[in-house]
């Protein structure tokens, strides 16, 4: 009998806890929805529009990828029995790797930058505790100097027209927003690329201001291709 009582009490408490949990959830959701409906109609419309275009864009990119594969097949077929074209074909393949239109693998280094865990209020200059767009820019520039052949930042391939823009708490590369932690991958001779870790180098300076900056070598790095479109509207080759 006593046993029964204890179980009932435990069960009662559990049920109460669950009910309270649900009530809290309902309240949160409700207050959230009121905020949402309280905003003007325009904003909700805009949001829907943005989502719509984003989706449309992603679909188009998928279609383009598919058609690209078809094209590649066609070109391969066409070039199969033509030595001249085979050479051109190889040059196109090699070129696409370098301009960032194909995924590449190889040996190299991975650099990870993380914002400082120190309390910002204790620092003289709170701005020195976070990773800035320029930090990423200079590290990419140093990697190029050390002979990197392909670089990506948080999965965004660096191509010839890639800018690294500041956008407040985040940075923008290739029009995509990315935030800390930043993972910079580079393919090239690992010994040369690891030189960025040298005494007096940029990474060491970052570590001194207590920002996380780690470099590790790897034999197997995969760098994704550029997901957007490279299309020059203004620059034309001079024949």
């Amino acid at each position: 009998m006593n046993n029964n009582k204890t179980t009932s009490i435990v069960l009662g408490i559990m049920c109460m806890a669950l009910t309270i949990g649900i009530c809290i959830q309902i309240r949160t959701v409700n207050s959230y929805s009121t905020i949402k409906t309280g905003q003007n109609y325009d904003q909700n419309n805009l949001r829907a529009e943005v989502l719509k275009y984003k989706e449309k864009y992603e679909n188009k990119i998928e279609q383009i990828e598919k058609i690209d594969k078809d094209l590649e097949k066609k070109i391969e077929q066409a070039t199969n029995d033509n030595e001249n074209l085979e050479d051109a074909q190889n040059q196109i393949k090699e070129g696409n790797k370098l301009i960032g239109l194909t995924e590449v693998t190889g040996e190299g280094v991975i650099i990870t930058l993380t914002d400082s865990k120190l309390d910002a209020t204790t620092a003289l200059d709170p701005s020195s505790l976070v990773v800035h767009d320029m930090d990423v820019y200079y590290i990419v520039n140093e990697l190029k100097n050390a002979g990197a052949e392909a670089i990506s930042v948080n999965g965004q391939r660096i191509i010839t027209t890639s800018a690294i823009e500041c956008g407040g708490n985040i940075i923008t590369i290739n029009g995509e927003k990315i935030g800390s932690p930043f993972e910079i991958k580079a393919i090239g001779l690992p010994e040369n690329l690891a030189n960025l870790n040298r005494t007096g180098g940029y990474l060491e300076a970052m570590r001194k201001s207590s920002v996380g900056a780690e470099l590790k070598k790897s034999n197997d790095i995969t760098i994704p291709k550029y997901t957007g479109i490279i299309n020059y509207k203004y620059a034309k080759s001079i024949e």
Binding site: A88, I92, G106, N141, A150, I187, A235
Partner: protein
């Protein structure tokens, strides 16, 4: 005894049902919360949303144009399958496009020319950092081809200071003052970005350097003058 057993069974069933209802409600809630959380879009303000929308629209239009172009290309291939000559032409065109983006060809188009004249009495000299900032700003504004003192900026170009900042190297090649930076792209965008208040050109002018920015309908930028090859990427 029998009644006690019955009691126990009823109790278990009731408890089981209660638990089920609670769990179901919780899952429903989780789902609603998930739905409402459509990434960061929710917290954006109206003007932010407008810029976001404009940028996605532009991206979409561009993607669509590219899609049409590729489809046309594919059709051309299909039509010309028989003719060796025409396929050759198509592949050569493709190669030309790759070479253009790689920086293996001389290019021309509308754009701007920036001349940086270092003034010796200025508070600080013009460094590789300044050049890096300017190049990054030009890329932000959509520059398609850039050169500094006729050194073409390609994907893996580095701009560094060596020897305590006295020597500036672009593509591992020493470049000398004064610096002339050329960029091809929408001339108004490029000029606007480069002359922005608080931008790098503004900073250099405040330091006391002489800087000129001119728009041109035709800017010529030379090709990258070394071999472009890769050893480590597969």
């Amino acid at each position: 005894m029998e009644a006690k057993k019955q009691n126990k069974i009823t109790l278990t069933i009731i408890l089981g049902m209660a638990c089920l209802v609670l769990v179901t409600v919780m899952f429903m809630q989780f789902k609603i919360v998930n739905q409402t959380d459509i990434n960061e879009l929710e917290v954006m303000r109206e003007d932010e949303l407008r810029t976001e929308l404009a940028s996605w629209k532009a991206k979409y239009t561009e993607a669509d144009a590219q899609y049409q172009e590729r489809q046309q290309k594919l059709e051309e291939y299909n039509q010309n399958e028989e003719s060796q000559e025409q396929t050759e032409q198509l592949v050569q065109n493709e190669l030309k496009q790759v070479d253009l983006i790689l920086g293996k060809t001389d290019v021309e188009g509308e754009g701007i020319v920036i001349k940086l004249q270092e003034v010796s009495t200025a508070e600080a000299g013009i460094t590789a950092d300044n050049l890096n900032m300017i190049v990054n700003t030009l890329k932000e504004a959509g520059a398609e081809a850039i050169s500094i003192n006729e050194e073409r900026i390609i994907n893996m170009t580095d701009i560094v200071s060596v020897n305590e900042g006295t020597i500036t190297r672009v593509n591992q090649q020493r470049i000398l003052k004064p610096y002339t930076i050329k960029a091809i792209g929408n001339q108004n965008y490029l000029e606007g970005a480069i002359l922005a208040n608080g931008g790098e050109v503004d900073n250099l002018e405040k330091l006391g350097h002489q800087i000129s920015v001119e728009k041109y309908n035709k800017v010529e930028i030379p090709k990258y003058n070394k071999e472009i090859s890769s050893k480590y990427i597969k």
